[in-house]
Amino acid sequence: MSNSNTPLVQVKDLTVTFGSGRQKFTAVQNVSFDIRRGETFGLVGESGSGKTTIGRAIIRVNPVAGGEILYNGQRISGRIPRALDREVTRKLQMIFQDPMSSLNERAKVDYIVSEGLYGRGLSEAQRREKVEQALREVGLLPEFASRFPHEFSGGQRQRIGIARALIMEPEFIVADEPISALDVSIRAQVLNLLSQLQKQRGLTYLFISHDLSVMRFICDRIAVIHLGRLVELADTETLFRHPLHPYTRALLSAVPIPDPRAEREKKLVVYDPSCHEYDADPPAWCEAEPGHFVRANRRELDAYQTILQQNGDNDHD
């Protein structure tokens, strides 16, 4: 069932809602995408767009209201057998945004890192050894195991968060804005660590962020999400070179460029959702060119394809 051609994670028509009745709120609506084995898949959008909700739905924290999620071709959303649940909680791990609040202040690093190992039939000596190994792997000293989180800097705390995910020997990691709360110089270290671990262990990442400049550096493919719906999905370079959806273009124009000359010429694009005429002709999730998906109605799709045609011609010149 699981050969190398099946995507590692398949999200099909996912809908996530919170509350019920009149209080019901739909956070994610009919979202579909695949994550290939060994790639870094980026999910970008502003706060409140539902990007974290998707990540949490995949690791079975948020229940799914519609659609399904497949892992290795096996359904992992909704009711699943207990054995599969245990497997999923080990193989799918998450790294959280804010290292200042995601670590238990009252627990020692030793416990924080190895909490997931309890109840998995390991002896104390084996557990200690694994903690030591995980700490080394993220560039921390094994002695740190006996310290409390407040004794560490922001970058070190994020490394503890990564060690906590690694110790379960996962295949897939949801990294939810892992560097947004860090200084620029520390950011580089954490990004390097993540890509180094990916190479060593063949990890697959779902990288969630609002910052496209970081995404361009680390992601293979990027999906853009706006108000709970995907609006565009493409290879990183394609997305940056030929953005189609107006919201993607607005996001790209907001990325700060570290070059005063370019900044001065740059024009800020603001996305106005009323620019679509969706009343008569409702939009769908279409493939504008191979591997490049966009949410559009028929008229928009025609326009996008014309743009792609022209761009393609220009690229050949």
Partner: protein, 344 residues
């Protein structure tokens, strides 16, 4: 120069912590021209916020200015001792926008009341006039339907909108200098671009002099006229925006720029600064950045470099600019930045 609005001379700030002395600001000199916008860039702990807090008398109780002067409006702010003296400056002449809009507003008062408070206090208006002025300012900072929003509480506003309210409060004081301490760090990239745009607009409209404090060099390219790079309580390089971006001279500035993901190629290792910032509890010998600097010379560990002038507006504190120093080429990514082949 007659155009100088604020000037700092040889400022030193120390904090006493558990019986030890921490040197937070080590001999900083700086002049701020009227109407310009200056960006102060550095890692956390480099002293950029402390420096700006001294302008408003907001140092923590265990901190003190041990040397130097801050000249503003013909007076030396370091000589201020009473709260009453500071009230003439704080908010009135120099206002500040804090980093996190989630915590800098009072959750129990309406947004309108919080802005009106500043209008009443600093512009001397009252009653209906103060209210009208508040609504006008709310409109100025880009809040739609200000009449209705006036009566709302901070929890009814999103992060970006709250930051606009905080800016409205700062502007309501009609200050001469506006200090923005990481105004967009807690915000999304799209909102960040809007807030930076707003601050730029208000700067023109109210003829403000602005100081941006940030750790992200990528953000300041669009907003700053001049950039000061701080490291370990010292300004290591200062120059006009183009000079610092296209012709940086200090190895620390090189390192900061190189670690921006915007400049790297996918799949490459991103440059990261080795080691940790120096311990400010001890007196630093030589150049503070030397232990982390791959281009460090012997003298860097012995003698603190003076400022070397690159151009009349651009100076850097590094021995590499000494005529006797060996020639060191800046790293690859800096050259790329200079040629402008970026983000294309």
């Amino acid at each position: 120069m007659s155009n100088t609005i604020l000037s700092v001379e040889g400022l030193r700030v120390q904090f006493s912590l558990r019986g030890k002395v921490l040197n937070a600001i080590r001999d900083v000199s700086l002049t701020l021209e009227k109407g310009e916008s200056l960006a102060i860039v550095g890692e956390s702990g480099s002293g950029k916020s402390v420096l700006c807090k001294t302008f408003m008398g907001l140092l923590d109780a265990n901190g003190s200015i041990t040397a130097g002067h801050i000249w503003f409006g013909g007076e030396d702010l370091t000589q201020y001792t009473t709260e009453k003296q500071w009230l003439g400056i704080r908010g009135k002449k120099i206002a500040m926008v804090m980093q996190d809009p989630m915590t800098s507003l009072n959750p129990l008062k309406t947004v309108g009341a919080q802005i009106t408070e500043a209008v009443v206090l600093h512009q001397g208006l009252s009653g209906e006039a103060a209210r009208a002025e508040t609504v006008r300012i709310l409109g100025d900072v880009g809040i739609t339907d200000p009449e209705r929003r006036y009566k709302q509480y901070p929890h009814e506003f999103s992060g970006g909108m709250r930051q606009r309210v905080v800016i409205a409060i700062a502007v309501a004081c009609r200050p001469e200098i506006l200090i923005c301490d990481e105004p967009t760090t807690a915000l999304d990239v799209t909102i960040q671009a809007q807030i930076l745009h707003l601050i730029r607009q208000l700067k023109e409209k109210y003829q403000l002099t602005t100081i941006y404090i940030t750790h992200d060099l990528g953000v300041v390219a669009s907003v700053a006229d001049r950039i000061a790079v701080m490291y370990a309580g010292d300004i290591v390089e200062i120059g006009r925006c183009e000079e610092v971006f296209c012709d940086p001279r200090h190895p620390y500035t090189w390192a900061l720029l190189s670690s921006l993901p915007q400049l790297a190629e996918r799949g490459d290792e991103l440059y990261s600064i080795q080691g940790t910032p120096p311990n400010l509890f001890t007196e630093i010998q030589g150049d503070a950045f030397a232990p982390r600097n791959p281009h460090a010379l012997k003298i860097d560990f012995v003698k603190r470099p003076p400022y070397f002038e690159v151009s009349p507006t651009h100076r850097a504190r590094t021995w590499l600019l000494d005529p006797r120093a060996p020639k060191v080429e800046p790293p690859e990514s800096i050259r790329k930045l200079r040629e402008g082949g970026l983000w294309k």
